[in-house]
C-alpha cells in the first residue's frame, strides 16, 4: 500500500543519425548499400520536382487545390522504401513520393488533385490505398488490413501515415488501440510537420512528443528526425521487422516541417512567421542527404544532374499523359457504385444521360 511511481514497459526513444549539416553519427549509420541509398534520394527529388510542378499547374488552373509535401520528402520516402511489394501502405495525403516508389504512375497525383476519381485507383499489383481525405480515418483501415494479415497468417506488414493534427481524432486512438490489443503487424507513422493548417503542434495536444502517445496503447514509440532519411529508415525498418515477427505495432513520430502552404488555397503568413520557415529551410532534407551521399561516394555531381534530368523528363511525361486523359464521361459516376447497378440507379443513370445530352455537356473539366 505504497505511493510509488509506475514504470511502463513500452520503450520510448529519440533517434537522429544525420544532422542538419550532413554530419553522420558513424555508430548509428545503417550503411545502406548504394542502390538503396540513391533510390531514396531519387524519390525525394522526384517528389520535390513533382510538387513544384503541381503548384505551377494549380496556378495555371490545370489542377485544383493542391496540398504540397515540400520539406517532408525524407520522412515519407525513407519510410515507404522499407515496405516490400506484398506489404501495404495506407497513406494520408502528403506522401506523393511513397506512391511513386510503389509504382503508381506519376499522373495519379495530378488526377487526384485535378478532380478525377482515376487518381484514387491503385494500379493492379499494388497493395496500397489511395489518398485519405478525412483526416486519420484511414488509421482503422491500416489496423484492419494488418488484422487480415494476422488472420490469414501472412508475413506481411502495413505502414500507415498520419499527420500531427490527425493524432487528435478518435479514429487515430481507436485504430492504434485495436492494433495493440490484437498485436497486429502495423507501423503508425506520423509526419509531424508542426502544423495542421493553422494549428501549431503545441496547440494540438499537451503531450511533449507525439511518440509518447504509444504508451497509451502499450507499445513502443520512437521520435525521429524526420528530415534525416537515415533515422527514418532505421526506425521504420526496425518497426516493420518487429511487426512482421509478431512483435506488434510501433508508433513513429517523424519530426519534420511543411515548408509550403497547407494547400494552394491557404495563406500561411496569416498564422506563422517567416523566421520559423527560414529556420526549417536550412534543415531541408534534400541538400543534407545529398551532401552525405556525396561524402560517402555514393553520388557525384554527374549523377545528381542525371537524376535531375530524368526526373524532369518523367514529370513532363506524366503531365502529358494527364492532359491526354482529361476527357472523361460524367455519366460513369454511376458505374462503380456497385458491382451490379441496381434498377433504380439504372433509371437515374438514364435520366442523367438524357440531361447531359440535352444540355450538351462536354466530357469533363
Amino acid at each position: 500500500m505504497p505511493r510509488k511511481p509506475i514504470t511502463v514497459k513500452p520503450k520510448l526513444e529519440y533517434l537522429s543519425i544525420l544532422d542538419g549539416e550532413g554530419k553522420v553519427d558513424e555508430k548509428l549509420d545503417p550503411k545502406l548499400d548504394a542502390d538503396l541509398a540513391v533510390k531514396i534520394y531519387r524519390f525525394m527529388v522526384l517528389a520535390r520536382r513533382m510538387d513544384e510542378r503541381c503548384i505551377n499547374m494549380q496556378r495555371q488552373g490545370r489542377i485544383g487545390t493542391y496540398g504540397p509535401c515540400r520539406g517532408q520528402e525524407a520522412a515519407h520516402c525513407a519510410a515507404s522504401v522499407v515496405m516490400e511489394k506484398e506489404d501495404w501502405i495506407v497513406p494520408a495525403f502528403r506522401e506523393p513520393g511513397s506512391f511513386f516508389m510503389r509504382g503508381w504512375p506519376l499522373e495519379t497525383i495530378l488526377r487526384f488533385w485535378g478532380g478525377y476519381e482515376e487518381g484514387c485507383q491503385p494500379p493492379e499489383g499494388v497493395n496500397d490505398l489511395p489518398i485519405a481525405v478525412p483526416i486519420a480515418s484511414q488509421t482503422p483501415h491500416a489496423t484492419g488490413i494488418a488484422w487480415g494479415m494476422k488472420i490469414r497468417g501472412a508475413k506481411q506488414a502495413v505502414l500507415c501515415y498520419c499527420g500531427d493534427g490527425g493524432t487528435s481524432e478518435g479514429d487515430f486512438h481507436e485504430g492504434m488501440n485495436f492494433a495493440g490489443a490484437f498485436d497486429l503487424p502495423v507501423v503508425f507513422f506520423v509526419q509531424n510537420n508542426h502544423w495542421a493548417i493553422s494549428i501549431p503542434r503545441e496547440a494540438q495536444t499537451r503531450s511533449e512528443t507525439i511518440a509518447q502517445k504509444a504508451i497509451a496503447y502499450g507499445f513502443d514509440g520512437i521520435q525521429v528526425d524526420g528530415n534525416d532519411p537515415l533515422a527514418v529508415y532505421v526506425a521504420t525498418k526496425e518497426a516493420v521487422e518487429k511487426a512482421r515477427a509478431g512483435g506488434g505495432p510501433t508508433l513513429i513520430e517523424a519530426v519534420t516541417y511543411r515548408l509550403s502552404m497547407h494547400t494552394t488555397a491557404d495563406d500561411p503568413t496569416k498564422y506563422r512567421s517567416q523566421a520559423e520557415v527560414t529556420k526549417w529551410e536550412k534543415l531541408d532534407p534534400i541538400p543534407r542527404y545529398q551532401k552525405y551521399l556525396v561524402k560517402r561516394g555514393m553520388l557525384d555531381q554527374q549523377t545528381i544532374d542525371e537524376i535531375e534530368e530524368d526526373v524532369k523528363a518523367e514529370v513532363a511525361a506524366a503531365e502529358e499523359r494527364y492532359e491526354a486523359a482529361r476527357d472523361v464521361d460524367p455519366l460513369d459516376c454511376f458505374d462503380y457504385m456497385y458491382t451490379e447497378l441496381p434498377q433504380e440507379l439504372v433509371e437515374q443513370r438514364q435520366e442523367f444521360a438524357e440531361a447531359i445530352e440535352r444540355e450538351g455537356h462536354g466530357h469533363g473539366h
Binding site: C120, Q121, I145, G148, F178, Y338, E344
Partner: protein, 326 residues
C-alpha cells in the same frame, strides 16, 4: 427444415457463411465468449475459433473501420454493432469508407462486408436501445440496407448479404428475435437483395411495411378482412434501399390506396420515399391521400411510455379505414 426463431435463423446464416467460405470473419463486442448480448452468435466461437469469431474492444468506429480494412485485404467481415443506437460512433466510417471504397477506387477494391445491428423498440430497454434509423443508411449512396421480418427470410437475406459483393447494412428487428418461430431449411438458402415481397395478396388497399412492423401490419390486414371484409395487400420491402419500386407501384396500381408503416421518425423516413416514388410512377392511380403510420418526430420514449408510442395494428387499421373512407 427446422422450426426456429429469428435468433436461431441468423445464427444459422452465419454458420453457413463461416462453414462454406473461409474468408468470412465475424467481429464485434461480446460476440465470442458471451455469444452476443442477444445470443445471435451462439456457439460460433467454439466452432470456428477466435481468428474467425472475434471479440473486440469497445469502439464502434474501429469495428467498422477495421472491417473496412479486412474487406480491402480480401476478407468478408461481418461486423456487429451491439445496438443500432451506438452505430453513430461508426457513422463516419460507414459514410466515408464502407459506402465509398468501391466507387473511390473505380472497382479496384470491393467492400464485400456486412454491418449487422439490432434495431427497433419493444424490448423495454434504456435510451438508445429502441430506435429505428434506417433512413440514415438508405439516404447514403453505395449501401444496401436490408431488414428481414421473419426467421426464414432473415436467414436467407443475411446469408445473401454476406455472400454479396456489395456493402450491406443489416438491421435485425430485435422485437422479433424470439417472438415467433418458422420452418427454416437445413440447406443454405438465399434471397435476392433489393426485392420486395407480397406478404399478403389483396385488392382494396396496399400496406407497405418491413421489419418488426410486418407483424402489426399483417394483423391489421387480418382484422380488416375479418371485421370489414377489406382485402389489404401487404408489401414487405425486405430491402429498403435500393427500393423495389416496381413491386410497390404494381400493387398501388391495383389498389389505389396506400398506408406506409414504419417505426422510425416520420420526416424523411422510408415512408416519404415510398410516397414520392408512388407519386412519380402511379399518381393517377391514387384514389386517396397516402397515410403514414410511423414513429413521431420525437425521441423514442423510455420504455414506460413505449407501448403507447409504438405503431400498432389498431393504428394501422385506423389509418386504413380513413384512406378507404376518403
Amino acid at each position: 427444415m427446422a422450426l426456429m426463431n429469428m435468433v436461431g435463423a441468423l445464427n444459422r446464416a452465419m454458420d453457413d457463411a463461416l462453414r462454406t467460405d473461409d474468408t468470412v470473419v465475424l467481429l464485434g463486442q461480446d460476440i465470442g465468449q458471451d455469444e452476443g448480448v442477444f445470443r445471435v452468435t451462439a456457439d460460433l466461437l467454439r466452432r470456428y475459433g477466435d481468428q474467425r469469431v472475434i471479440d473486440t474492444p469497445l469502439a464502434e468506429g474501429a469495428i467498422v473501420g477495421g472491417a473496412v480494412g479486412m474487406a480491402l485485404y480480401g476478407l468478408k467481415p461481418v461486423a456487429e454493432m451491439q445496438f443500432s443506437g451506438f452505430a453513430y460512433q461508426a457513422f463516419h466510417q460507414v459514410e466515408q469508407h464502407m459506402a465509398r471504397f468501391h466507387n473511390r477506387t473505380r472497382g479496384r477494391y470491393r467492400m464485400s462486408m456486412v454491418v449487422r445491428m439490432p434495431y427497433g423498440g419493444g424490448i423495454r430497454a434504456v435510451e438508445h436501445h429502441s430506435e429505428s434509423r434506417e433512413t440514415y443508411y438508405a439516404h447514403t449512396p453505395g449501401l444496401y440496407m436490408v431488414i428481414p421480418s421473419t426467421p426464414r427470410n432473415a436467414r436467407a437475406l443475411l446469408l445473401e448479404s454476406i455472400r454479396s459483393p456489395e456493402p450491406v447494412i443489416f438491421f435485425e428487428p430485435k422485437a422479433v428475435y424470439r417472438s415467433f418461430k418458422e420452418e427454416v431449411p437445413e440447406e443454405p438458402e438465399t434471397m435476392e437483395l433489393g426485392k420486395a415481397q407480397i406478404a399478403r395478396a389483396g385488392t382494396d388497399i396496399t400496406f407497405v411495411a418491413y421489419g418488426a412492423m410486418m407483424r402489426p401490419t399483417l394483423e391489421a390486414a387480418e382484422d380488416l378482412a375479418d371485421t370489414e371484409g377489406v382485402s389489404a395487400e401487404v408489401v414487405d420491402l425486405l430491402t429498403v434501399s435500393p427500393l423495389d419500386t416496381d413491386t410497390i407501384t404494381e400493387s398501388v396500381t391495383k389498389t389505389g390506396r396506400v398506408v406506409v408503416i414504419h417505426e422510425g421518425p416520420r420526416t424523411c423516413g422510408i415512408g416519404a420515399e415510398v410516397i414520392a416514388r408512388i407519386v412519380e410512377r402511379a399518381l393517377m392511380h391514387l384514389e386517396a391521400p397516402i397515410k403514414r403510420v410511423t414513429g413521431y418526430d420525437v425521441h423514442f420514449p423510455y420504455f414506460a411510455r413505449e407501448r403507447a408510442f409504438m405503431p400498432n395494428a389498431e393504428r394501422i387499421a385506423h389509418a386504413a379505414r380513413e384512406v378507404l373512407a376518403f
